[in-house]
Symmetry: C2
Subunit: 234 residues, 2 copies
C-alpha cells in the first residue's frame, strides 16, 4: 500500500520536507521510534543531511495528524498510543466507517460487490495458515471496497484519517484475538448480503458499525477483561 521507502528517483521530485515526513513516519511505523521517543530536530536533520527547517515542518505535519505531540520550546516526542487511544480511535472508526458504508451502499455495482466478496474469499483462505498481518491488510481492503464509493467525500477523508491514525498499531489487532477472524469473515458476508438486498441504510450502517466494534470488544475482552465495558455500546 503506502510506500514509505524513498527511491532516488522520488528523492529528486519530493520536497525535503516531505522526505523528512516520510522518513520519520516510517521510523515510527517500524517502531524504531517508539512512543515517547524524543524527536530532536538537529539530530534528524543531520541524519537526513538537510537543515532543520524541513524537519521542523515535517514534525508539525505529523503533529497535525496526531502521531507526535509537541510542546513549546521543548520539542516533539512520539505520541503515546496506549490502549486508551486505540480504543477511542477504533470506536470513532466504527461510527465513521459504518456511516460511510451506508452512504456508499446504494452506489455499489454488482462488480464492486463481487470484488469485495473475492477479497473476503481470500481472507477465508488465509484462515488455514493464519497470518495476522496479511489478514488485517485484506480486511482493510475489504472495507475500503465497501466505503470507497461513499457519496460524501468529507466522510471518506475522515475515515482515511482515522485509519492512518491507527496505522502504526493496526498490524497487531488480529494477532491478539485469532478467534475473532473467523467470525469476522462471516459478518462480512452478512454485510454484503444486506447491501445486495437493498436493506434499509440504517440496517447496513448498524451492521457495519457493530462489526467493527465487535472486533474492538473481542480485543478488549482478550486484553483487558476487567474493563471491557468501559465504552458504551450502541
Amino acid at each position: 500500500m503506502a510506500r514509505d521507502e524513498l527511491t532516488s528517483a522520488e528523492t529528486a521530485t519530493l520536497s525535503k520536507s516531505q522526505q523528512a515526513y516520510r522518513w520519520i513516519k516510517g521510523r515510527i511505523a517500524s517502531q524504531e521510534f517508539s512512543p515517547g521517543y524524543r524527536l530532536v530536530l538537529g539530530s534528524i536533520a543531520g541524519e537526513l543531511d538537510m537543515s532543520v527547517v524541513p524537519v521542523r515542518e515535517a514534525i508539525r505535519q505529523l503533529e497535525a495528524e496526531g502521531l507526535v505531540m509537541f510542546e513549546r520550546n521543548v520539542g516533539a516526542r512520539v505520541s503515546m498510543v496506549d490502549d486508551t487511544h486505540y480504543r477511542f480511535s477504533m470506536q470513532s472508526l466504527s461510527i465513521l466507517e459504518g456511516a460511510a458504508t451506508a452512504l456508499a451502499a446504494r452506489r455499489l455495482t454488482v462488480d464492486d460487490i463481487q470484488r469485495a466478496r473475492h477479497i473476503n474469499g481470500l481472507m477465508i483462505e488465509t484462515l488455514e495458515h493464519f497470518d495476522p498481518r496479511a489478514f488485517t491488510g485484506l480486511n482493510q481492503d475489504f472495507h475500503a471496497a465497501l466505503y470507497e464509493k461513499c457519496a460524501n467525500p468529507r466522510m471518506l477523508d475522515l475515515v482515511h484519517g482515522e485509519w492512518a491514525r491507527l496505522g502504526h498499531l493496526r498490524d497487531s489487532t488480529f494477532s491478539f484475538v485469532p478467534g475473532r477472524a473467523a467470525e469476522s469473515v462471516r459478518e462480512h458476508e452478512n454485510i454484503l448480503q444486506l447491501i445486495e438486498s437493498s436493506a434499509p441504510l440504517g440496517e447496513i450502517e448498524k451492521a457495519a458499525r457493530r462489526h467493527r466494534s465487535a472486533t474492538l470488544d473481542a480485543y478488549m475482552i482478550h486484553e483487558h477483561p476487567d474493563e471491557a465495558l468501559g465504552l458504551p455500546a450502541f
Copy 2:
C-alpha cells in the same frame, strides 16, 4: 467561544507562528480573505512585522485543517468553500455529533440538562426579534452542552474539527431559513426529554442526527430546491 482577536497580553506569550495562525484565520473568517485569495508569505509577514518562517508554519497548519490549499512552489490560497463542501461537512457533522451526543447522554447530570434547557430558553426568547448570528451561537452552545461530556475524547476532537471547518460559513445558516429556527428549538426539547428519560442510545443518536440533517435539508430546499435530494438520508 473562540477568540480570534489578540490582546497585547496574549501577544507576549503566544508564539509568532500562532499569532500568524490566528491572524490569518481571523481574516478568513471575516471574509477579508475570500475563497481563492492568494496568501503571499512575504506580504503577510510584512503586515505582521515578522519573518516569513512563522507565517509559513501557520499556513501549513491551516492547510492541515483544510482552510487553505497549498501548491508547491506556487503558494497558498484560501480553499473554495462552496455549497458542496458545506453540505458534506454538515452531513458529517450530523453523524459525528449524533454519535457524540449519544456517547455523552448517560454522563449528563441534571445540572447539565438544566443548563442546556436554559440555553434553549434563550433561543426561544430571541425568536421574537430574530438575530440569525446570535441564534446560531446559542445553537452551538446548546449542542456543545450535550456532547461535551462525550465518553470518547477522540469523537470530541472530530466534532470540534468539523465545527471549525464550518466556522467561516456557519454564521449564515439560520439566516437563510428563518422558519427553521422555531422547529429547531422544539427538536431540542425533544432531545432533552429523550436523554432525561434514559431512552435507548440509538434513539438519542438518531434524534440528534436527524435534528442536524433537518437543518441541512431546510437549507437545501431553500437554496437548491432542484438538487435537494442529492444526499441520501438515513
